[in-house]
Amino acid sequence: MLAQRDSFGETIVDLCDLDPRVVLLDGDLANSTKSDKLASARPDRFFMMGIAEQNLVGVAAGMASVGLKPWVASFAAFIATRDLDQIRVVVAQPKLNVRFAAHYSGILTGYTGRTHQVVNDIAIMRSLPNMVVVAPCDAVEARAAMFALNDYEGPVYLRLTRDPAGVVTAADHRFELGHALLLREGSDIGLISTGGQTLRVLDAAETLERDNISAMVLHVPTIKPLDVDAVVAAAAATRCILTCEEHSVFGGLGGAVAEVLCERQPTRMQRLGLRDVDGESGPNDALIEKYGLSSAHVVKAAKELWSSL
């Protein structure tokens, strides 16, 4: 079990060691985002910006414009919604090299309630021209993604999760921006997922196999640019598609896949995610259960879709 935020804290230190132009801007959440590791290890690379998220983004844009490679570490809810205008005007439109480490994404945020949860950040960020959107499935993929993104020129939204979770990515995994990963072959139903939800989808695929439904699992860590060919191939190789994400069913991965399939490979599909609701406070297990994100929910949705064919 590893937490993506712990991986983030270690990797940002390594990136600073590797690249003299990497810096991090903190919105007074360093002990939540684990950027405090950098504050201790490389205080010259760590810039506390206070509880002032709009300024945080503008400062990062200014640093990027003079050749630095700033990471902005805050909560996904603040970055994607409070900072939207700043990101739009001084980062995305001028294509500046700012990386947003969007911590505490989704609803598994450690008893915060819905003010600190965001269920539509993928939809918002993916609709911004020039913005790249990445949601790793585990701590190892998060680290690999950070190294890969360091070589990318342009703005990136990296969606990270808070709590320890299983790891399915091999330790030597090389992240390729824009590439989906086929984690499991299958011929009946294609399960397409992103972020931490992929782990629950893999569990569901095993259960489905035992019930004689062959489920493919396509993990999509880069939601934008979407690996269109992999999505179309998944639809062509199976009889129906179920998208799964810890996000609203509006405009996120499900929306992106539906857009592609209706144009390229019309396919019977269903979207699993939050259905036009916010989250709330509660233990992770209870939240996953109540908001329909558990492996059992994935299995149930897959079986309903399969039996409706």
Partner: protein, 290 residues
């Protein structure tokens, strides 16, 4: 360059802007004219820049946070040789590099994209922090409008700049006393008079930890002295509080909020250009004699 020459360049900016806005059929004039003399002084005297090398890493940075006055910045950039002066007539046209608000991806010489008010000072903080990090001695200058200091982000940036003691950052507040529509006076919304967008700005910026230098934003010599004092301030960021007049230089535009943004008729264009010519006459004579 002499003060008289700079003063005349300010009016050249006004001429270019009047013609470009007239040609485009729309555009901001009032807030450009309050800033014009300072833009001339900055680009022809104060900024360490090289128009032949607009991307030089060691150049001074300038951000026009009041991005709706972009046409004034384009005019001075063209006059300084960043691009042909004739291109000013493409302002706001399709495929033009001269967008309604400055777009740094399109035109050389623009150090930041601006237009959404209140956002320009923060990238200035980032550039100043970046200069310190890179051990570079360039200065960062940000011109902000008095209206946009109503935006909270300005004060987030002001707080942060003071906390980091960013002496290599100078903000210039174009205090022209009007904004697009404005707040009512004791006479309500009658006429073109409005309550000042900001009150006691010097006190506010000092309270945030800034070095405040007041000057007349239309007196180039006074403004240059303020810039010099800003550069020589080594322990904190400086705010140059420039007292200006919206629509400065054109009798029927001065202190009239409706000239914030509007088309200009053929008659008004001719009258305005005539006023500028008459204003420059004694100076031109003086320069020719010397």
């Amino acid at each position: 360059m002499t003060v008289d020459e700079l003063q005349r360049l300010g009016n050249d900016i006004r001429r270019h802007v009047l013609r470009a806005v007239h040609h485009a059929g729309a555009g901001h004039i009032g807030g450009v004219f309050s800033a014009a003399d300072m833009l001339a002084a900055l680009y022809f005297s104060e900024l360490r820049i090289d128009p032949q090398r607009p991307h030089l890493e060691s150049r001074d940075r300038f951000i026009l946070s009041k991005g709706h006055c972009g046409i004034g910045l384009y005019a001075v950039l063209a006059m300084r040789g960043y691009f042909p002066v004739d291109e000013l007539f493409t302002f706001d046209a399709i495929d033009s590099r001269l967008q309604g608000h400055p777009d740094m991806t399109k035109l050389p010489g623009l150090d930041m994209s601006t237009g959404s008010l209140g956002q320009g000072l923060s990238p200035g903080v980032g550039m100043a922090l970046g200069a310190r990090f890179l051990h570079s001695d360039f200065q960062t200058w940000v011109m902000i409008g008095d209206g946009e200091t109503q935006e909270g982000q300005i004060w987030e940036a002001a707080f942060t700049a003071a906390r980091y003691q960013l002496a290599n950052l100078t903000a210039i507040l174009d205090w022209n006393h009007l904004q697009q529509f404005g707040w009512p006076t004791s006479q309500g919304y009658a006429g073109v008079a409005r309550r000042d967008p900001t009150e006691s700005p010097a006190q506010k910026w000092r309270a945030f930890g800034w070095n405040v230098i007041e000057c007349d934003g239309h007196d180039v010599a006074d403004f240059r002295r303020a810039c010099d004092r800003a550069r020589r301030t080594l322990d904190r960021p400086t705010l140059i509080l420039a007292r200006t007049i919206k629509g400065k230089g054109i009798s029927f535009m001065e202190n009239d909020y409706t000239w914030h943004s509007r088309p200009i008729s053929d008659e008004d264009l001719a009258a305005a250009l005539g006023e500028l010519d008459r204003a420059d006459e004694p100076q031109r004579t003086r320069v020719e004699r010397s």
